[in-house]
């Protein structure tokens, strides 16, 4: 019989595993090899086996013949067994139900959230770019008539210009319209000025009516002089008013019955067309 002071060789855990046959094959082999050379472990193993057999005998004699009791719970049908459902418990139950329903791991949840954010961000960027492209396209459509007007050089075309109405009325489109119309007006004004200047300094002459009575132009002499002047002017292709070194006053020319095209009429028509 071993005394209590006898030192343990350090195989205590392996001994209990071997005793209850819960060790691996390798551990069993190693312990059996140790038993062959350790008297204390042999003695201890024997004592433990005897104690265990007595406990098992007690179990078999007293416990196994007993019937398992039928547990009867009072008030089984009462809800939540008397415990109130706090908001915290409800939230936890909801989360548990959702997790059980989805049955995803936390890493999958994190990945899903990140993917959702990335998709939303991409949609926002895509939408903004589309809006910018649409605005640019609308602006280009509005400014096309302006460039066409600049390239053609024909004032009559300006009468036929029609601003392309945008599909949607918004502040940006309206602003573009205004700027376009301003550009058209400025262009027309500049053309008008150019035409006036050209009339002053160029070879374009005012087409005189054949009937001199319609003309208010004074001639110092009789008709022959006027004719001369006119003829001279026609031959020399110089404007009549060039002699006086004054810009003609277009309004001074009266032509009640004159149906021919006059420069002034053309310019006035352009102004009305605005």
């Amino acid at each position: 019989m071993l005394s209590n002071n006898q030192k343990n060789c350090g195989f205590g855990e392996e001994l209990v595993l071997y005793l209850y046959d819960e060790c691996s094959a390798e551990e069993k082999k190693n312990f059996e090899m140790h038993l062959t050379s350790c008297a204390s472990c042999i003695d201890e193993f024997a004592g433990f086996s005897a104690a265990r057999s007595l406990v098992s005998e007690w179990r078999e004699a007293d416990f196994l013949p007993l019937e398992i009791p039928s547990i009867v719970l009072p008030q089984l049908n009462e809800p939540i067994f008397g415990q109130p459902k706090t908001l915290k418990i409800r939230a936890r139950l909801w989360l548990t139900d959702i997790q059980r329903f989805l049955n995803f791991s936390p890493a999958a949840y994190a990945f899903g959230i990140i993917a959702l954010f990335a998709v939303c961000f991409g949609l926002i960027v895509f939408t903004q770019r589309n809006l910018q492209n649409n605005e640019i396209a609308q602006a280009n459509k509005i400014t096309e008539p302006i460039s066409a007007l600049q390239n053609s050089g024909d004032s009559t075309e300006s009468k036929d210009l029609k601003f392309i109405q945008p599909e949607k009325d918004n502040a940006a489109t309206t602003q573009l319209q205004r700027s376009a119309s301003t550009a058209v007006n400025s262009t027309q004004n500049s053309r008008r000025e150019n035409l006036v200047k050209r009339n002053v300094a160029s070879e374009i002459t005012v087409i005189e009516p054949p009937d001199k009575s319609n003309s208010k132009m004074k001639v110092s002499n009789q008709g022959t002089n006027a004719l001369k002047i006119k003829s001279n002017n026609f031959e020399s292709k110089k404007p009549i008013f060039a002699q006086n070194n004054k810009l003609p006053r277009l309004n001074s020319i009266e032509d009640d019955e004159d149906k021919s095209l006059r420069l002034a009429e053309l310019l006035e028509d352009d102004g009305e067309a605005k």
Binding site: M1, N4, G12, E13, L15, V16, L17, L19, Y20, E22, E44, G47, F48, A50, A51, R52, S53, L54, V55, S56, E57, W58, R59, A61, D62, F63, P65, L66, I68, P69, S70, I71, V72, L73, P74, L76, N77, P79, I80, F81, G82, Q83, P84, K85, I89, L93, T96, D97, I98, R100, F101
Partner: protein, 199 residues
């Protein structure tokens, strides 16, 4: 509001059964009782060594678990939770019994009336010897410290593996093996002091 209809409780884990029970599924807690009543009763019997007290302790264990289902946080296993409640109930019953008698295991009348029925093939002498032996074993087991006794009872009466005991008590495996080693060592010493004849 539930996300899914009531499910079959047979295929659920213990933790899922508790959740179902909290969600007012009457079959869920019944399944928990069905799975654990035998082991809890074995634990209570090994701790108390008396059938009537073991039945009372087991009943109180499940009633207490039933009432505190809402407080189960899910951080520990249901087995750990039930075992903890059972050990506490055993200690409560033991304290209650101790107030009635100094040593409940010394009550020879109760022990003989409620426990062992000797097999018919044993002679009266043999029966007496066996009774004496079992009495010594009961006393030896009940004299162990509560933590050592619990491991012995879970190993011998509930027939749990070392890993299952480790998971239930939430202790390292080496601690369980060490405790059982110490318990068996003390049992051996107590039993060897009392002369008895092992059949």
């Amino acid at each position: 509001m539930k996300l899914k209809p009531r499910v079959m409780v047979n295929n659920l884990t213990d933790e899922q059964l508790v959740e179902e029970a909290v969600n007012e599924n009457p079959e869920a807690f019944g399944e928990i009782i069905k799975r654990w009543e035998r082991k809890i009763f074995a634990l209570c019997f090994g701790m108390l060594a008396r059938e009537d007290e073991a039945r009372d302790a087991a009943q109180e264990t499940f009633i207490s678990a039933y009432k505190n289902l809402g407080n189960f946080r899910g951080e520990a296993k249901v087995s750990s939770w039930l075992h903890r409640i059972a050990v506490n109930q055993c200690l409560t019953v033991k304290r209650r019994t101790k107030t009635r008698s100094e040593s409940f295991l010394d009550d020879e009348t109760n022990a003989e009336d409620k426990f062992f029925v000797a097999p018919s093939h044993l002679s009266p002498a043999r029966t007496t010897e066996q009774n004496e032996r079992l009495k010594i074993v009961r006393q030896a087991v009940n004299s162990l410290p509560i933590d050592l006794r619990q491991v012995v009872v879970m190993k011998e009466f509930e027939e749990m593996t070392f890993q299952e005991i480790s998971d239930t008590l939430n202790l390292p495996l080496s601690t369980i093996k060490s405790r059982l080693y110490t318990a068996l060592k003390q049992l051996r010493l107590k039993l060897e002091r009392t002369p008895m004849e092992v059949i």
